[in-house]
């Protein structure tokens, strides 16, 4: 079984580029050039240099001793939270800003949910001196205020998305409309492994540095490159795609994907796409998405802005349908508890997105000598207000 994208842009039956003609010239130019550009020695050099000196890579692979003791297994945390700007998102924005420059683009747009991708985009735009416009749902602007302030300080314009559920889906709609209106000078930096081909593959490749590092880091810790499990939370699926990438074709490595159940799978307030979703088209790709019988996209819900999305990237839809990955869903309440637990046991305050991945240990038992690597996709600074209110701290 092949879990990578094929030449036509599909993962099994998922993927493709279902875009209006207005977007075709830009998406096609990207499709024709992205692999060529990524293979250029000067691109690789600049990308790697920035990941090292600017982002602070490699990010540590940390053996979480007290957490491991509690759950009686070996838990390693891949510390993407220690990257510059506080999440994995910057790996992708560094790659895409270099791509945009080589494509001759001068204006950058992005969507953001939690604001981590917006901050990461605003950061690389400041670094390169490019104009930056970030679309963000009105609800998310309120619940992720610190990140809105950071984007503004970095010189970006934050435009509220006022339609639909006023969250990530709607911010993505607005970004796509902006690109339709500005086809010549603008590059759209999509922040997850979603969108029309080649975006899911391009974002995955930029994020694949996560699993590339896990391999040699785990070798140093455990004398072997492959863990028994890799675990990541899934919004659109970029930290997950990067965490799985180099293990996809090694069936001895079990893959666990963690979605947001919101108030519960059957509550009507959820974002657990693999359970509630059906094959369809969202934001330019064929994938699993939450929709009515009639094909209208439904409004998702999660306490975590970054997981509050009614679809998953096409690679993950394929991993789900083929059974290669085990999908679990975690409620708001369980995620919040896991976030607090990691803070108390390891002195690490995780993003609420990430906390979903950590909550699986309450539901799944691992063997004592299993090596479980969890993607610690981001830090919780942006979520302090939510944590404080939730736990009345």
């Amino acid at each position: 079984m092949n879990y990578n994208v094929n030449e036509k842009g599909y993962y099994g039956k998922f993927g493709g580029a279902y875009i209006p003609e207005m977007l075709y010239p830009n998406v096609e130019a990207l499709r024709q050039n992205y692999l060529k550009i990524m293979a250029e020695p000067s691109f690789k050099e600049e990308f790697n240099q920035l990941l090292k000196d600017y982002v602070g890579r490699p990010s540590p692979l940390y053996f979480a001793k007290r957490l491991s003791e509690k759950y009686n297994t070996k838990i390693y945390l891949k510390r993407e939270d220690l990257n510059h700007t506080g999440a994995h998102k910057i790996n992708n924005t560094i790659g895409q800003i270099l791509m945009a420059k080589r494509l001759g683009k001068t204006r950058i747009i992005a969507e953001t949910g939690a604001g981590q991708h917006g901050v990461a985009t605003a950061t690389v735009c400041a670094l390169m001196g490019l104009e930056c416009i970030v679309y963000m749902g009105e609800i998310d602007i309120a619940r992720q205020a610190p990140n809105v302030a950071r984007m503004k300080m970095l010189g970006a314009t934050v435009v509220p998305a006022l339609s639909g559920s006023r969250t990530l889906k709607d911010a993505t709609n607005e970004a796509i409309r902006d690109w339709i209106n500005n086809p010549v000078d603008t590059h759209y930096i999509i922040g997850s492994a979603i969108g029309p081909h080649p975006y899911p593959d391009m974002v995955t490749r930029f994020q694949s540095v996560i699993s590339e590092e896990i391999k040699w880091q785990l070798k140093a810790h455990e004398g072997r490159e492959n863990p028994d499990y890799v675990v990541a939370c899934i919004g659109g699926g970029s930290n997950a795609a990067g965490t799985y990438y180099h293990f996809l074709h090694d069936e001895n490595v079990n893959i666990i994907a963690v979605e947001a159940a919101g108030l519960g799978i059957d509550s009507g307030e959820s974002a657990a796409t693999s359970v509630l979703g059906k094959e369809g088209i969202i934001h330019g790709c064929k994938t699993l998405l939450m929709q009515t019988k009639d094909g209208q996209i439904t409004e998702p819900y999660s306490i975590s802005a970054g997981l509050d999305y009614p679809g998953v990237g096409p690679m993950h839809a394929h991993l789900s349908k083929t059974g290669r990955a085990e999908f679990m869903s975690i409620t708001d309440a369980d995620a919040m508890k896991a976030g607090l637990e990691l803070s108390k046991l390891e002195g690490i305050i995780p993003a609420i997105e990430t906390a979903h991945a950590l909550a699986i240990f309450e539901y799944k038992t691992f063997k004592t000598d299993d090596v479980v690597v969890v993607s610690l996709s981001g830090r919780g600074d942006k979520d302090l207000d939510t944590y404080v209110k939730y736990f009345k701290l």
């Binding site: 010239p25 709609n173 409309r177 088209i281």
Partner: protein, 253 residues
């Protein structure tokens, strides 16, 4: 021969009107169509509302969400239209996004269109290559004209390809924008209209996006076979009754 193809043979400039089905009220669909026909419009695009209309500006977005709130569904639209051919003979096109059609089943959707007497489809997010590989034969089996968009950024080579697989008209998007922009037409559009007109395509072109009054209609149809009005009509119908549609049409030509 299909009603669209017949209409395009007439020696006149085509005025096509887009409206969102289920807006302003759920059951306005049939009376809007009837009044458009008696107002001497040439062709009608019935918008099947979608929750996330990526290529549309605020006016059509708002009409779509209102239509969905009113309860519009694919099934209801087909039911409203089931006897439409007893009263009107104007060419009818359904314009909608691909996901609702995919969920209905593309073949079932096309079959239903043929039963009702729909003449063509415009599906902005069904790309040309997917259509030609997977769906062209289905559309043809049910006698449906499929209409593709081109924009000022579409290359000559791609326009020729689109022309080769089209069997009605080419939808010429007037400028790089979503629907409903108000900027009017300048030198860029003129150059683009001329460029396309000089390509001598086998399919006539009809201009859409940004046509909102007599001037823009006139400018567009100077080069093209016709023009499509959407957002401006939606705004009109929000503030006027269905019986006043004639006034709107008279303000255009």
């Amino acid at each position: 021969m299909n009603r669209i193809q017949n209409k395009l043979k007439e020696n006149k400039k085509i005025l096509s009107i887009y409206f969102t089905a289920g807006y302003p009220s759920l059951n306005d669909t049939v009376s809007i169509i009837q009044n458009l026909e008696t107002s001497d419009v040439d062709m009608i695009e019935i918008g099947l509302p979608f929750s996330d209309p990526l290529a549309d500006g605020p006016t059509i977005q708002a009409s779509s969400s209102k239509a969905l709130k009113n309860g519009m569904t694919t099934e209801i639209l087909f039911n409203q239209l089931k006897d439409i051919r007893k009263t009107v003979s104007i060419p009818l096109i359904i314009m909608g996004y691909f996901n609702p059609m995919l969920q209905y089943g593309v073949e079932a959707f096309c079959k239903k269109c043929q039963e009702i007497g729909i003449d063509g489809l415009i599906i902005p997010d069904l790309p040309v290559d997917v259509y030609s590989e997977d769906y062209k034969s289905t559309f043809e089996k049910y006698g449906l004209v499929n209409v593709f968009l081109i924009t000022p950024q579409t290359s000559d080579e791609r326009i020729r390809f689109i022309d080769s697989i089209s069997n009605g008209f080419i939808y010429m998007v007037s400028s790089a924008s979503v629907t409903g922009s108000q900027s009017g037409f300048g030198d860029d559009q003129k150059y683009y209209f001329e460029r396309i007109s000089n390509m001598d395509l086998k399919n006539p072109q009809i201009v859409g996006f940004g046509i909102n009054n007599r001037d823009t209609f006139k400018q567009a149809t100077q080069y093209a076979k016709g023009a499509i009005i959407g957002s401006a009509f939606i705004k009109f119908i929000a503030e006027n009754t269905v019986e006043n549609i004639k006034q709107f049409v008279q303000s255009i030509r």
